[in-house]
């Protein structure tokens, strides 16, 4: 079992806060890796919030391949932040030679294209880069999207933080939204792509647990969208379905829960919207999720959500104050970073609930 956590704040937060959220939960996450997606960035990225940001871990040759591709596709590099690693002896990290976070401007021919067309371009670019790097085994591209930074590495999260100097808040790397977890995939091969959080077109998601409908989800998702690739982890099914329901079908958020954990037939039959629920269950039956799990997701709007499996087999708690709200697998994480919050207001969502935190830190809590 892994542990997941996230922070949403009115003021920019440094990754060390996310680490402090996760470290007390280390008995459950085995310290085998560190991964985070930061959104709504400040510090060095403040000026480029509307420009796609590429998050990349690669070799020198990989960096060259990426540069060649981006140049030949008329992307214009605007800014770049390359962490200067602390390469002290004895750190438990399987580091890649280069970590590149680079803002681009859209190609000139996209100046008068719609936002939707630009979003398709960003996805296609990430998929193309992934293909190039995969074929040559020269690196990994995690996200290519405005105001989104992804870092994933294998090793002890404390050492990874030391390596990237994440303990020292220099003010360069801060964000109002961070989703994180501290474990490599243990069910399948250890591949950097298999470490959540995952990202696709504005949607970020990490999951704690199992999806026992992985095979049937995957077999269906493969035909749904070109961006649904990889499938290195059963947790990817969650994000692809989230993306499909919200972005492709353009359904309201509450229907996500109806897709992944439909109400039992007997319960659905009692509802006024039973016809809608019935056609959803019929048509999206292959996207249902089974098994014990909890997810944390961030939507393109910046809203952060969490929900559990239909039997509430995995824990999660939401708590915070007026400035910061965090979601955590275990309450000890919240206690570490928000010791002065009103604990009586902590929310332990049940199996039918969805908790949504909006950008004003208002918490909505509703049942599917």
């Amino acid at each position: 079992m892994c542990r997941i956590g996230s922070i949403k704040s009115k003021v920019p937060v440094h990754p060390s806060k996310a680490l402090h959220l996760m470290l007390p939960q280390q008995e459950g996450h085995d310290n085998s890796g560190f991964a985070m997606v930061m959104q709504d960035l400040y510090g060095v990225f403040t000026e480029y919030k509307d420009k796609p940001l590429l998050s990349l871990a690669c070799t020198q040759r990989g960096a060259q391949l990426v540069e060649d591709y981006m140049d030949s596709h008329n992307f214009v590099q605007l800014a770049e932040w390359i962490p200067k690693p602390n390469k002290q002896q004895g750190l438990d990290i399987k580091a890649m030679p280069y970590y590149i976070f680079r803002n681009y401007d859209y190609p000139e021919q996209y100046n008068d294209k719609t936002q939707e067309e630009r979003e398709e371009l960003m996805l296609d670019t990430r998929l193309a880069l992934r293909k190039i790097l995969e074929e040559t085994n020269e690196g990994y591209v995690y996200s290519f999207w405005p105001d989104v930074l992804t870092l994933k590495e294998i090793g002890d999260p404390r050492d990874i933080a030391t390596y990237f100097r994440l303990w020292d808040d220099s003010g360069m790397l801060v964000a109002k939204s961070i989703v994180t977890q501290c474990r490599q995939n243990t069910n399948y091969d250890i591949v950097r792509y298999a470490a959540h959080p995952f990202f696709i077109q504005g949607y970020t998601l990490c999951a704690n647990g199992e999806n026992t409908f992985y095979t049937k989800n995957m077999e269906y998702q493969k035909s749904l969208h070109r961006g649904y690739t990889g499938f290195e982890s059963d947790s990817q099914n969650f994000i692809y379905t989230l993306h499909y329901v919200l972005r492709q079908l353009k359904w309201p958020i509450q229907y996500y829960k109806h897709v992944i954990t439909p109400l039992p037939f007997a319960e659905a039959e009692q509802r006024e919207d039973k016809k809608v629920l019935s056609v959803i269950r019929q048509s999206l039956g292959h996207l249902e999720i089974n098994g014990p799990n909890t997810i944390i997701a961030v939507l393109p709007s910046g809203e952060m959500i969490t929900c559990c499996d239909s039997k509430k087999l995995r824990p999660v708690v939401v708590g915070g104050d007026d400035t910061t709200i965090a979601i955590s697998s275990e309450v000890c994480g919240l206690n570490a970073i928000l010791p002065n919050r009103d604990m009586s207001k902590d929310i332990y969502p049940n199996e039918r609930e969805v908790v949504v935190i909006n950008n004003d830190l208002e918490v909505q809590r509703w049942k599917q």
């Binding site: 026992t212 049937k216 359904w251 056609v279 019929q282």
Partner: protein, 543 residues
């Protein structure tokens, strides 16, 4: 010394021989009266016996004429091994034993091809028994509790649309249906398969329908029963119970005159319509009801005289799959106002995937289910050559159809229902569960139901006399004397008990793999000890 004629039929030529013990026999006559095949008779035998009639043993050897039970040496009266004589004998004086040296197949074609009922006796291989539910939730995820957790054991019957095709609009954060969608009924993933009134006795059919209604109304299990070709009593057509029935239309269209006439008076819609194109036991053949079974009530329901009723191999006027969809599916959908799902049943065949692909691509979206029937299915009457030598195993065919849909992203659009040998070894839950993991939405069963009623037929040539009108259990006959042997209530109760146990067993299989709803297509839950099966079905090989 008698002259031996080589060509004379002797009991040694027959498949079953009677083992008779004259010393135990009281000549009560029960066995002779019970035997529906007239395979035994009472006669006098000249015997040399040692008797003692005094108070003290005074054995005397005598030649006596004594009454005995004797097997009739005749192909027409050949014993079928039904065992009724043994069952009825108060003294265990008689039983039928299999005669492995018989010459029956060489001698029994004197009046044309051998006809019989039952199932294949040659191709009873059990692929499903080499498959194990091997992905057990241990540590990484918890197994569920089959007694405590809720499980959704339901399957769709009806045409399912792709998500993007649903007429949904989003208003104020709510989805609203703005148009009609094809009718879909969520039913139990096991259908009582199509056995007609005619093939079955009225009592047997009544017992199955009684069990259906009881399971629905007392146990809330939405089991559906298919009528079989030949219609059903008007009283049932006009009752509320029609909602549990799937009406079948086969190539003879038998019974549909009454169904159509009853339509204006139907209180509820039937659960579905099943167009029968073919059946697994005798693919390429139409239905066959021998004249011996066309009793008065069958004549009335079907609107026919007493004669052998041969349904044609094809639906008249259908020359292609496009026509089938346009003509039959459309007209049957229209007949019930597009409120009742219409599905189609075909015999499994090397061409099943092509058929399924065609149905999936049908622009009208009106095919509500593809029923594939494998070679191990049963029938009331067929040529033995069809039963034993034509057909296609169901397991790989079902899997191929599912994977063909997966390849196109169309899985689940036309629910797949598989039959033909489900529950062959008595455990229908395990068979159903494995088929579901391989991609079936549900299964249909027939033989196991009549076995629960008391049928003693099997894959090893026992009985299989369904075609003769002389079914010894009263299940597949219209002879009033034989039909009385069947206790309707007890038969229905056996089916109910079995299905309730099956429902528990389904939970017992879902719980350890951690699933609370049916694992349709969850092939990762299965492993097999047979490499060839692993390769063919795309599941893990284990040893």
């Amino acid at each position: 010394m008698e002259t031996v004629r080589t060509q004379d039929v002797s009991v040694n030529d027959l498949k079953w021989k009677i083992e008779y013990c004259a010393e135990r026999c009281t000549m009560c006559g029960s066995c002779v009266a019970t035997c529906t095949k007239n395979a035994i008779e009472a006669c006098i035998s000249h015997r040399s016996v040692t008797v003692s009639n005094a108070h003290q043993p005074e054995p005397v050897k005598e030649h006596k004429a004594i009454p005995v039970i004797k097997q009739v040496a005749s192909i027409a009266n050949a014993c079928v091994g039904c065992g009724m004589c043994e069952k009825v004998c108060p003294n265990h004086a008689i039983k039928a034993v299999r005669n492995i040296d018989n010459r029956f197949n060489l001698l029994a074609r004197d009046h044309g091809p051998i006809k019989r009922g039952g199932r294949t006796n040659l191709n009873a291989q059990r692929t499903l028994d080499s498959i194990i539910v091997g992905r057990i939730s241990q540590m990484t995820d918890p197994a569920l509790d089959s007694e405590r957790h809720t499980f959704d054991i339901r399957a769709p019957f009806g045409r399912v649309l792709l998500p993007g095709e649903l007429p949904l609009i989003s208003e104020n954060g709510q989805l609203t249906l703005t148009g009609k969608t094809p009718p879909v009924n969520w039913i139990y993933p096991l259908i009582f398969s199509d056995m007609s009134i005619g093939a079955l006795s009225t009592r047997a059919w009544e017992a199955v329908s009684l069990a259906t209604a009881y399971l629905n109304e007392k146990h809330n299990l939405p089991i559906r029963m298919c009528s079989g070709e030949g219609g059903m009593p008007v009283k049932l057509l006009e009752s509320e119970k029609l909602k549990y029935m799937i009406l079948q239309i086969a190539s003879g269209h038998f019974g549909w005159n009454r169904i159509i006439k009853a339509m204006p008076r139907m209180k509820v819609d039937p659960a579905g319509i099943l167009i029968k194109i073919g059946q697994g036991a005798k693919p390429g053949d139409g239905g066959l009801l021998p004249a011996a079974k066309v009793a008065e009530h069958v004549q009335a329901i079907r609107g026919v005289p007493k004669a052998t009723l041969s349904s044609p191999p094809n639906h008249q006027g259908l020359y292609s799959i496009e026509e089938s969809v346009q003509k039959m599916h459309l007209s049957l959908n229209a007949a019930f106002g597009f409120r009742v799902p219409v599905a189609i049943k075909c015999a499994a065949s090397a061409t099943s995937v092509s058929v399924y692909n065609n149905l999936l691509r049908d622009p009208y979206k009106i095919c509500g289910g593809f029923f594939i029937d494998g070679i191990q299915g049963g029938t009331g009457a067929a040529n033995e050559v069809s039963l034993d030598h034509t057909g296609h195993p169901i397991v790989s065919k079902l899997r191929e159809c599912y994977l063909a849909a997966v390849k196109q992203g169309l899985q689940g659009q036309i629910p797949l229902w598989a039959g033909g040998g489900m529950g062959l070894t008595g455990n229908a839950a395990a068979d159903a569960f494995k088929m579901i993991c391989l991609g079936a939405n549900g299964v249909f069963v027939g033989k196991i139901l009549i076995q629960l009623l008391g049928c003693i037929g099997n894959e090893n040539g026992r009985c299989n006399a369904c075609s003769t009108g002389k079914c010894p259990t009263g299940i597949c006959t219209q002879d009033p004397r034989l039909v009385k042997r069947l206790d309707v209530d007890k038969g229905a109760q056996n089916i109910v008990d079995y299905i309730l146990a099956l429902d528990s067993e389904m939970r017992k299989l879902m719980a350890p793999i951690g699933n609370s709803s049916l694992p349709v297509g969850r092939s990762d839950a299965l492993v097999t000890t047979d490499k060839a099966i692993a390769d063919k079905l795309g599941i893990q090989y284990v040893c």
